[in-house]
């Protein structure tokens, strides 16, 4: 019986505010609006949800201004209220924390600090005393600086999206960033480049007559740009494509050729001279016996007896060499 009475008193304290005009009322109104919003439909739901947010923000602002957690001019309540306002304004209905939320958060915190310094107990609106002004100015400027730091983080993210192969490298020497790794090292896009190159070459050479293959190899040597452009087109269009180059080396062997595909990186990295990835492919002649096996009725065509076809086999392994190839 006592237990139930305790529960009732707790609930009553929670739900019924002590004074009418207080932060408690506002928080309750916010809860009420949100519950109503859940029951409503489209545009009414948006309005009710917005009302819920606004009541929450006002209630929190009031609550934190009555029980401030502050040291000097820096108050935790400003940051909490600013976080709520940023989320309300910029995170949209999906509650996704966008970069704008992060960057506007310190700016709003600065605004709230300034505004709250204008409000003196009363409530009255009056400019703050001259003794507080310098520390207030320093506070506002520091908060804006924090916002710049957040923006710098997002700039770094944008850079890493445009140059993802950098992530395979080591950031130990950097005097700007620290890297907290989750998994192992990233893969370099050069491997994708080599994969696309070999995939592009295989149908062109496999099963084709040897003469045609030699022609293709000759074109590769004379006009490497054409093949490079073909492969690059298949790659995702990022800024770092400009520092990747695809080159081919044709080493004459015994009757066959060794084709080396090189993906060369001439961009930012711990190695000042870059590096390159190398994959070797064997282009060999194959005697096509199938024509000789199937008997052809009628006069036999002596040239059809054995046609030399070509075959390309690329090694799956890729070696990484630092520096530039000869």
């Amino acid at each position: 019986m006592n237990f139930l009475r305790n529960i009732f008193t707790v609930l009553r304290d929670l739900l019924v505010p002590r004074e009418q005009f207080s932060w408690h009322t506002l928080l309750l109104l916010s809860l009420f609006s949100w519950i109503m919003a859940l029951l409503a439909t489209t545009w009414v739901r948006n309005i009710l949800a917005s009302c819920g947010w606004i009541f929450l923000i006002l209630g929190t602002a009031w609550l934190t201004s009555e029980n401030p957690v502050k040291k000097g001019e820096v108050s935790l309540g400003h940051w909490i209220t600013a976080a709520l306002i940023s989320l309300f304004l910029f995170s949209g209905w999906t509650a996704e924390v966008t970069p704008t939320v992060w960057i506007s958060w310190p700016i709003l915190a600065a605004l709230i600090a300034v505004v709250s310094s204008f409000i003196h107990p009363g409530p009255r609106l009056k400019p703050p005393k001259p003794e507080r002004r310098p520390s207030l100015a320093i506070l506002v400027l520091s908060y804006l600086l924090i916002s710049c730091w957040f923006q710098f983080y997002f700039t770094l993210q944008a850079w890493l999206q445009q140059y993802p192969s950098i992530l395979a490298d080591d950031f130990q020497n950097s005097s700007f960033v620290i890297r907290l790794p989750f998994n192992g090292p990233e893969a370099v896009r050069g491997t994708t480049l080599l994969d696309r190159a070999s995939t592009l070459l295989q149908p062109q050479i496999n099963g084709q007559p040897w003469a045609k293959t030699e022609r293709i190899l000759f074109d590769l040597q004379q006009q490497p740009q054409v093949f490079e452009d073909q492969v690059m087109q298949q790659m995702q269009d990022l800024a770092e494509n400009q520092v990747w180059n695809l080159e081919t080396r044709i080493l004459p062997g015994q009757p066959d050729y060794t084709l080396q595909l090189l993906a060369i990186w001439r961009g930012p990295g711990t190695n000042r001279n870059g590096y390159y990835l190398q994959r070797s492919c064997q282009v060999s002649q194959v005697q096509d016996r199938s024509a000789a096996l199937t008997p052809v009725p009628g006069p036999a065509n002596p040239e059809q007896a054995a046609i030399t076809l070509s075959r390309i086999e690329c090694e799956p392994t890729i070696t990484t060499v630092s520096g530039q190839p000869q």
Binding site: F152, N173, S174, I178, L180, N183, R266, G274
Partner: protein
């Protein structure tokens, strides 16, 4: 993405540089502008924060507009603390020199303007009648102490120039030490 890349080192370095710059400039301002210690620290703090903020805004505006090659060099410097040099990449030395000089001059100009604004703002809003700044003390007879050299010594522009020169030199010393220490650990390739 497999890793979280945070600009913590940049924040740490910048905080350190700000503290050093504020300390040094406060000392200079206290001497040259005959201010109290607390006031000179406040001035130095506000001005340095203002110029740092302006620098960040300039960087954040200019960075997307950089040509691709310069941007790649910037990325190389931020992540690997070095510039890369291939046949086609530009020489970064003139860029660095021009950048350093314009940063210094821009900072001084901004801080001078900021100081004037602060002093004007204080005069307008304070109820205490503002004492005349020393250099405009009216006198019919030019006393021996009021000569152009003394006026120059007490001018805020000169004070800020000296203050910034001092703090920039201190920062350069720290950066050079850091540079040489890291180069000593890894032998040059």
């Amino acid at each position: 993405m497999n890793a979280l890349v945070l600009p913590l080192r940049a924040i740490l370095f910048q905080g350190l540089f700000l503290l050093i710059a504020i300390a040094l400039e406060a000392v200079v301002l206290q001497e040259r502008l005959t201010l109290s210690r607390r006031r000179s620290v406040e001035y130095a703090a506000v001005l340095n924060l203002l110029s740092t903020l302006a620098g960040w805004i300039v960087f954040l505006i200019l960075e997307p507009l950089l040509p691709q090659i310069l941007r790649a060099q910037l990325i190389s410097y931020v992540f690997f603390n070095q510039f890369f040099s291939y046949d086609w990449s530009p020489n970064m030395n003139p860029v660095l020199v021009i950048g350093g000089l314009s940063t210094f001059l821009g900072t001084v100009a901004l801080e001078v303007r900021g100081l004037l604004l602060i002093q004007q703002f204080e005069q307008q809003t304070s109820s205490i009648p503002n004492p005349d700044p020393p250099r405009s003390r009216p006198s019919l007879v030019r006393t021996p102490t009021q000569n152009p050299n003394a006026q120059l010594r007490q001018s805020p522009t000169f004070a800020l120039l000296i203050a910034n020169a001092l703090s920039y030199s201190a920062i350069l010393v720290i950066l050079s030490t850091h540079f040489f220490l890291t180069r000593l650990e890894t032998p040059p390739l």
